[in-house]
Symmetry: C2
Subunit: 253 residues, 2 copies
C-alpha cells in the first residue's frame, strides 16, 4: 500500500539470499541507485541491514533481536512452557510447540531431555509442513476453503517413502486428524523419527498451537511412543484450559 515502505521491505528478502551491493539492489528493485541508497540507509539506521567492509549490504543483527523478542512475547508459549517441561521431565523425549501463521508453521518452543533449549534452530525454516504432526494438527483446524487452498499450494517432498505424497492424501490425513483430535508423524520426515502430537485450543475451541513428542526408533518403537499419547493429550488439554482461562490459575475475574 505504501510504495516507499514496500520497496524498502522488498530489500530484506533480497539480502537474505546473500550480500549485495548498491547497484544490484537498485537493479532488482527497479529503482534509481540514489533511491536504493536512501532506503538502505534507513534500513541501516534501524539495524536491519548491515554494511560489511567491502561496502556490500547484508541483513543486520537487529533482525535477530526482533525475532527473539517476538517469540518471547507469545503468550501461548509462556503458558505452555512449564507443562512442556513437566511432560519432558516424565517421559524424557523431545517436546515441541508450534503455531501456524499465514501459510507457515513454526516451532516456538522445544524442550530437550537435559535442560530447556528453545528450538530456534528451526524457526522460520520451512518446517516439514506436509508431514510434521504439529503441522497436521494446525492445518486440520483451518476453515475448509483455506485448508484446501493451502494444501493445493504446498509442495510434497518425498523425504521418505512414508511422506505424504500429494494434496489429496494430505487432506484425507487432515480429516482423520481433525476427527480423532491427535496426530502422528511415523517416519514421514526422517526415516527413524516418530512423533505424536495434540492440539492446544483457545476459549472458542479453535486450535491456537500444537505440541508433539518426538523420539528416534532406536530409543522407543512407534508402538511404545503411541502409548504416551494419553499423556500428551492430557498435557495439551491442561494447557488449553489455562490458556482459555478455565483453569485454576492465580486469580481470575
Amino acid at each position: 500500500m505504501s510504495q516507499t515502505v514496500d520497496r524498502a521491505l522488498s530489500i530484506l528478502p533480497l539480502l537474505a539470499r546473500g550480500p549485495a551491493d548498491l547497484g544490484q539492489v537498485a537493479d532488482e528493485l527497479g529503482v534509481h541507485k540514489s533511491t536504493a541508497l536512501r532506503l538502505l540507509r534507513t534500513l541501516h539506521e534501524h539495524g536491519l541491514v548491515h554494511r560489511q567492509q567491502d561496502q556490500r549490504y547484508r541483513l543486520g543483527a537487529r533482525l535477530f533481536a526482533l525475532a527473539q523478542e517476538a517469540v518471547e512475547n507469545l503468550d501461548v508459549r509462556e503458558i505452555a512452557h512449564p507443562y512442556l517441561a513437566a511432560l519432558n521431565e516424565r517421559i524424557g523425549h523431545t517436546v515441541h510447540l508450534a503455531v501456524y501463521e499465514e501459510g507457515e508453521v513454526v516451532y516456538i518452543d522445544k524442550v530437550e531431555s537435559r535442560y530447556p533449549v528453545r528450538m530456534y534452530s528451526r524457526i522460520g525454516k520451512p518446517v516439514a509442513i506436509t508431514v510434521a504432526a504439529v503441522a497436521k494438527l494446525l492445518l486440520a483446524d483451518l476453515p475448509e476453503p483455506e485448508r484446501r487452498a493451502v494444501a493445493a499450494k504446498l509442495d510434497y517432498p518425498p523425504y521418505t517413502p512414508r511422506s505424504t505424497p500429494n494434496a489429496a492424501a494430505f487432506l484425507k490425513e487432515l480429516a482423520t486428524v481433525r476427527e480423532q483430535g491427535w496426530a502422528t508423524d511415523l517416519g514421514g520426515h526422517e526415516e527413524s523419527i516418530n512423533c505424536v502430537g495434540a492440539p492446544i485450543r483457545g476459549a472458542d475451541g479453535r486450535v491456537v498451537a500444537a505440541m508433539s513428542v518426538s523420539a528416534p526408533n532406536v530409543v522407543v518403537t512407534a508402538e511404545e511412543l503411541l502409548t504416551l499419547l494419553p499423556q500428551v493429550r492430557r498435557t495439551a488439554e491442561a494447557i488449553s484450559r489455562e490458556y482459555s482461562g478455565t483453569a485454576p490459575t492465580k486469580d481470575n475475574g
Copy 2:
C-alpha cells in the same frame, strides 16, 4: 533518511514489546491512525507483522525466516563450522562462534556434545557482552576510540562476584586479551560455567569472529579447561587461515 520507511520500521521494536492495537501504534508513532494503518498494512503484506484474532498486531513469522536465512549466509560461519565440529568431537564440550556488529555481540553457531545444534537460543539477545570470552575478543580488536565509546555506554550487570564491575576494569581486561591473543570467562556470567576463547582473523589481521569452549565446573575445573587453550587457539588459527585464503583448501588463484 526516508520518513515513511523510518516510521514503518519504528513499528517493529514497538511491537516487539508485545501486541498493540492500531490506536496505540499511531500514538506511539505520533501519526494519524490512517497513516499507521497504511504502514501496518504494508508491513503485513511483507509478513513482518501479523494480525491476531483480536485485531491487534504483533511481529510476524517472516521475521524468523529472515533471521534464519541471514545467519545461514554468513560465510565465516560456513567456513568455521567443520572446525568447530571437529574440535567438539575431540574435547566434548560446547563450542561457540560469535561476531560483533555495531554494538552487539551475537552467537552465530554452536556445537553441542551430542550433535550439531545451532544456538539461535541466544541470537539477538544481549549476550553478556561485558563478561563473555567471545565478547572480550571481539571488542578488544576494535579501534581504540570505538572500544572506549562502547565500553562507556555499556551496563555492567553483576551476574556474579566475578563479573566485570565497570568500564575501567573492562578496558583493562580488553587490553590484556588483546595482548595475549585469547580470553577467558571464569564464572563471570554463571557462577559454575567457565569458557576459554580465541579470535578468528581475516586476511588483514582484523578479528572477524571469535570462538570459545564452555564447560561447567562440575565436569572440568577452570585449570583443566585452560589446558585446552592450545587446541582452541590452533583451531581458531586454522579457521583464520582458511577464511583469509592462506590455507590449502580446494583450489586457489
